[in-house]
Amino acid sequence: MSTGQTILEIKGLNKYFGPTHANKNIDFTLKTGEIHGLIGENGSGKSTLISQIAGLYGHDSGEMILKGQHYDPQSPIDANDHKISMVMQELGVVGTLPAGMNVFLGRTDKFTKFGIINKKQLNREAQAIFEKWDLPRVPMNKLTDGMMIETRKMIELARALSVDPDILILDEITQSLSLNNRRKLVDLINKLKEDGKSIIVITHDVEELIEITDTITVLRDGAVVGNVMSAETTPDEIKQMMVGRAMEGGYYREDMVPEYGDEVVLSVKNVTVKGEIEDISFDLHKGEILGFCGLSDSGIHSIGKAVYGLSKLQKGTIHLNEKNADIKSAPQALRSNMGYVPKDRDNEALMIHASIRDNFVLPSLTELQGPIAFLSPAKLSRLASETSKQLSVKMTGIGQPMDALSGGNKQKVNFGRWLAKDLKVLVLDCPTRGVDVGVKAYIYSLMKQAKKDGISIVLISDELTEILGMSDRLFVMKDGKITKEIRRDEDFTEQSVIGVMI
């Protein structure tokens, strides 16, 4: 196959998820022998785009043309038949099946004779794929339950490679790999390129993307905002495109001095959670925004859970000075005027089928109790309607079910319900994930206000700009440990962070 021809062309693609317009008139061209990067903030629509290419979702309007022919995959298997395969960010393997079986799951028929799967042949072929692409060795007969994330990712990669794809899509695969395997992956990508195959790569890491790709397409709020040659661009240019102009001017904090009280509100000492974080210690001061950044599996998200009492601590204490008590459970954290906004809004934070009112009052029920534990419905409604008016949540009424709201409005409820309380500590895990720029700015203004009111905030985010923009101090994490602490008035730049992050 010669390189440089157009293999896949996408014209005017649109996709809706309920109220969100996830892809807006996307145009996209992929050539043979091209490594094409896709980048954009969370919720910018890149995952949606590749999911349509890989046959996971259908599109609502627009057209895809593959090798000159109309292409509308009905399923991932259909896409595989068209020689397109993908390693998905949040999918994984079936734990109850052995590794070899996972590689060919859904396609076991080709190993079947008289109805019986030839396991030896299946394992041999799976092994052959691992050897061909020089992937680390995996025991083929072992159940994947209990294997490391990295090994599981390799099985997924082998699965994608097993269809001998012309187009391979890699969605956020590098962040769960060790340095060694990352290099192997880059070699693999280049080998595919030499064979005239096309690769679409998604990663959050701008530098890495520029290094390994030929072309980069930037998405923002569901639309393509730029298309550049990797050799001719800079990380700054890409980032500018990613965040857009709205970024500048009052979006983040403008001051460059850390500003918080001397009083230590919460002190975390030597906290270890098995398999997640190790020997974490820090002090959180009154009115401080303390940032945690790192790759997704660096343990930053575990910090939030541990601080709010949701993890079983193997070692260490989380001490709340005001109550002079160690936080040991989430109910205790809730009682002690702490709040927690988890990362996964729809699955961890909200009851999406319940009403806005029910979602609003959930953390405040104890405070709303009258004599003999009475909860007055009128009081609950008043709290919900007053706060949602303050936050200008777009809704028809507080009785409306949560899933009718857009992502941004959901997040307003998710965030705002904590501000209705008399909080001392607020833990935020990716608070602006999947919301549009307007709501984002609004959430930052709420954070600034909360800081002014003396609330101490633990801010966890995989968006570096956000951490740099908002925190007084930040901790960089890697492999479950804190590797660096930087104050706002020190070397508070992306370069200094990225150096220790990866």
Binding site: P19, L310, A330, E348, M351, S355, A373, K394, A404
Partner: protein, 326 residues
């Protein structure tokens, strides 16, 4: 539009209640409507409603408790036996409640802490505890309550007893944290845990309340038959759980759980049983299959209705615009 979705699911139980009522009124040529018959229906729904109010907490959490029938049997049998053995027959009243509560707490502990799926536990106890009841009844003996205690089976005592427990349960379910937390757990257990709801404690509490109600109801059951027998509570768990689903509570629990639905469902089921009797079709097989088919239908329809139509993006956008302008 989304509001309608909820209404559709909520209105089906009312429609089926009315349809059943009208059908049997016509089929029984009006015999259904006699004051005597209506009072029988109410009288016979009492135990189902009491027990149902307790189980509702568990179902609201998305679990199930089908041990209430055997719990009622065991609590009643044990309470009467122990009461007579210690020479204070009246002691059975508190004893029944205590025994019911203990069984409930054990169940809650096994589900919340040992993570035994609740339906599996229910099935195991359905046979295990029934075996124990049969053992006590056959090996030791069936017992009778004293003559003075028969006052428990008069309306003057029964009705206040019924109202008292039901009012307490309505209060706890609709107007306290326990009820709200239970529904939150049913909506999304992870969310509840992440907000800081004491999920395990709430699960144990729900099973405890369910057990308490079963124990309390066993007093009425004992009074009805003047003592204990092996048939106590047989099929009650099914009747109660069916009543709750019939009333429009979703199997997944959550915000769909409401106390009024227990009343609605319990009365619907009792009208079916009563109506089939009035038109001379009271045989077990007919009753069971009618209940089974109707319940499958109602479950199916409520699930479909609550899942709702597919959301069209345009409508939502317009709705949002309207909301902003309004």
């Amino acid at each position: 539009m989304m509001k309608n979705r909820f209404k559709a699911a909520d209105i089906i139980p009312f429609i089926s209640f009315v349809a059943i009522f009208v059908f049997f009124t016509i089929a029984s040529k009006g015999a259904m409507l006699s004051a005597f018959n209506l009072s029988i229906i109410l009288d016979q729904s009492m135990i189902t409603i009491i027990v149902g109010c307790g189980v509702l907490f568990v179902i609201a959490q998305g679990s199930t408790d089908m041990t209430i029938g055997v719990n009622l049997g065991l609590s009643g049998v044990l309470a009467v036996h122990v009461g007579l053995a210690i020479g204070h027959p009246w002691a059975m009243l508190p004893l029944a409640c205590i025994f019911g509560l203990i069984v409930g707490i054990i169940n809650g502990f096994l589900v919340a802490k040992c993570k035994v799926p609740s339906f599996m536990l229910s099935i195991a106890e359905l046979i295990g505890i029934r075996g124990l009841i049969n053992y006590i009844q056959t090996v030791i003996s069936a017992e009778y309550i004293t003559n003075e205690m028969r006052v428990l089976n008069t309306s003057a005592v029964k009705i206040p007893m019924f109202i008292a427990i039901v009012v307490i349960m309505i209060y706890i379910f609709e107007f306290t944290k326990i009820g709200r937390y239970s529904r939150a757990i049913g909506e999304n257990e992870t969310t509840a845990r992440f907000v800081g709801v004491p999920v395990d404690l709430m699960k144990i509490t729900a099973f405890a309340l369910s057990g308490l109600c079963a124990g309390y109801a066993s007093i009425l059951a004992v009074a009805q038959i003047n003592g204990t027998n092996m048939q106590m509570g047989v099929f009650l768990e099914m009747k109660t759980v069916m009543a709750i689903f019939f009333g429009g509570v979703l199997v997944t629990g959550g915000a769909s759980a409401k106390i009024y639905k227990v009343f609605l469902g319990a009365l619907s089921i009792q009208i079916i049983i009563n109506g089939l009797g009035l038109i001379g079709k009271s045989a077990t097989q007919i009753q069971q299959s009618v209940e089974g088919v109707l319940l499958l239908l109602v479950l199916f329809i409520t699930m479909m209705a609550s899942r709702g139509r597919k959301i069209k993006p345009k409508e939502i956008e317009e709705e949002e615009k309207a909301a902003v302008q309004g």
